[in-house]
């Protein structure tokens, strides 16, 4: 089998409080997973499951408390590991005093793209996300959907081999969601590897090859979408709910109610 694009081994993430005597909060415990070339990998879990913390380690924002993580075989703490990555954070407001074109030129310079190549990439990504008309306008004049699309454009400026997307359709209207989904599917067809966090399970089911479900910092289940659907005898939403141990209110006993979890 080929070398994994993302490799996480026994990852542990902790948050220490500045208050004396406050307990250490464990955000992720012993997480191990691999993402292979050309896969769209869905990283799922309820709020507070440890998804964003894991992404923060992959991107070098947080040091792991234990275990290791590598991208393209390079330790994630090395800046060079991020040379072939595109990252779209959840709901980011980009520099409002720049135009989309200026923003992309700034990020492109960090990737050391030659001038001609950068100009070509800017044209290509702005066309891909449908912002050609607005390329010269200040970002502060953009709608929420346009901001998300400029975010996607910046994630693609270096023609990355790996895309890390954190809730890429969060806050978008149905048309915006469909457009982002189409872009992801197109990138998938171009052979890009996509590591994708979302709460939109229908969308994940449509675009992902494999998924992992996290809950309270632990990996509950991972596998191919069709295998999990077969194994859990339901759609991805049911797989997700069963994996995190959710019991509907009408079936709850005093022991299984959320107050006791």
């Amino acid at each position: 089998m080929d070398e994994p694009i993302i490799k996480i081994e026994k990852l542990r993430i902790e948050y220490r409080s500045r208050e004396l005597g406050a307990p250490v909060k464990v955000a992720v415990k012993d997480l191990s997973l691999e993402v292979h070339k050309g896969e769209v990998f869905g990283f799922l879990g309820p709020n507070g499951a440890g998804k964003t913390s894991t992404m923060n380690v992959l991107l070098g924002f947080l040091p792991p408390a234990g275990g290791r993580a590598s991208i393209f075989g390079v330790d994630v703490r090395q800046p060079i590991a991020r040379q072939r990555i595109g990252y779209l954070p959840e709901l980011t407001y980009y520099y409002k005093f720049l135009t989309a074109e200026e923003l992309l030129r700034f990020y492109g310079r960090i990737f050391n793209l030659p001038q001609a190549e950068l100009a070509r990439r800017i044209d290509a990504v702005l066309k891909l996300v449908g912002l050609e008309e607005a390329r010269g306008r200040l970002i502060k004049t953009y709608s929420k959907g346009m901001q998300q699309r400029v975010g996607l454009a910046q994630a693609l400026i270096n023609d990355p081999d790996l895309l890390i997307l954190d809730e890429p359709t969060s806050g978008l209207d149905p048309v915006g969601r469909m457009q982002v989904r189409q872009i992801i599917q197109r990138l998938h067809s171009e052979g890009k590897t996509i590591f994708y966090s979302s709460h939109e399970l229908g969308e994940v089911e449509t675009v992902c090859d494999r998924v992992a479900v996290m809950h309270k910092g632990e990996l509950k289940v991972q596998g191919k979408v069709e295998d999990l659907i077969r194994q859990f005898k339901g759609n991805l939403e049911e797989v997700f709910l069963k994996a995190i141990g959710y019991v509907p209110a009408e079936n709850q006993t005093p022991e299984s109610s959320p107050a006791n979890t």
């Binding site: 980011t92 005093f97 960090i110 975010g151």
Partner: protein, 259 residues
């Protein structure tokens, strides 16, 4: 490394040149000096010297405000808007980001300072009917070196104090203290008892002497330029403190948890 620092500095420059508050401070400063000149605020025999003195004081205060407010918000604004995350997800180190922020603020303040001093040069030449000498350039240079130190202090403060407003207030108070009291700490120490006296002496030798960069009196009274060797030593003194503050800032930024 240089490429990344230049890229970040370019964005900071663009931001400052597109912000209204930058121009408001410039216009207000010009208006104040212009009004004083037009209303014969000072007696005729000392009019030019007094106007230069007042103009330089306004320039000093305005430059302090521009430097501190612009540097203090750089990193907190990146964290608050979340732009720090897509930026650091690229092949750039935190040290490069901080140095880029420093360079951008320092260059923008240098541009503002150049405009201020150009205005003062024209104003002075039109009133005194003589072109100002090398002391004008030395005063500008010393001021710009000091602004580098102030910007690095404000950037360091922004990594310690979360709110830009509290950082700005603390930096401005600390600067005012250094400016007004820094040069007199040794005299204060002489009148104190131990161990306070030793502590104040230590502060006297450790803290940067902001007053060394204040060449206003020499400009106002048309003194000749200070010896160039002394000028170079003053530059080195300022750059050493700036570098030390930046090293501490980079170390803190490396350890700062970003969530």
């Amino acid at each position: 490394m240089i490429r990344n620092i230049q890229a970040v500095a370019g964005v900071v420059l663009r931001e400052m040149l597109r912000r209204k508050d930058f121009y408001v401070v410039l216009v207000l400063s010009f208006l104040l000096v212009g009004l004083m000149a037009a209303s014969r605020f000072f007696s005729a025999d000392k009019a030019v010297a007094s106007l230069k003195d007042a103009a330089l004081l306004i320039i000093w205060i305005s430059a302090f405000v521009i430097a501190v407010t612009s540097a203090a918000r750089q990193i907190p604004a990146e964290c608050e808007s979340g732009t720090i995350f897509p930026l650091l997800a690229k092949p750039i180190t935190r040290t490069e980001v901080l140095l880029g922020k420093f360079m951008g603020c320092w260059l923008a303040c240098g541009v503002a300072l150049a405009v201020f001093y150009a205005f003062l040069t024209i104003f002075s030449a039109s009133r005194a009917h003589t072109m100002p000498g090398a002391i004008f350039f030395q005063a500008f240079w010393a001021h710009w070196i000091l602004l580098g130190l102030i910007i690095s202090l404000a950037l360091l403060g922004s990594l310690v104090f979360a709110a830009p407003s509290s950082n700005t207030t603390i930096c401005l108070v600390a600067l005012a203290g250094l400016w007004l009291l820094g040069g007199h700490l040794n005299h204060i120490a002489l009148r104190m008892t131990e161990p306070g006296s030793t502590l104040v002496y230590i502060l006297y030798y450790i803290l940067p002497h902001v007053e060394l960069f204040d060449l206003r009196r020499l400009v106002v009274h048309d003194y000749p330029a200070v010896p160039w060797l002394m000028w170079a030593a003053q530059t080195l003194y300022g750059l050493t403190y700036t570098a030390a503050l930046l090293v501490i800032g980079c170390t803190l930024f490396q350890r700062k948890s970003l969530r």
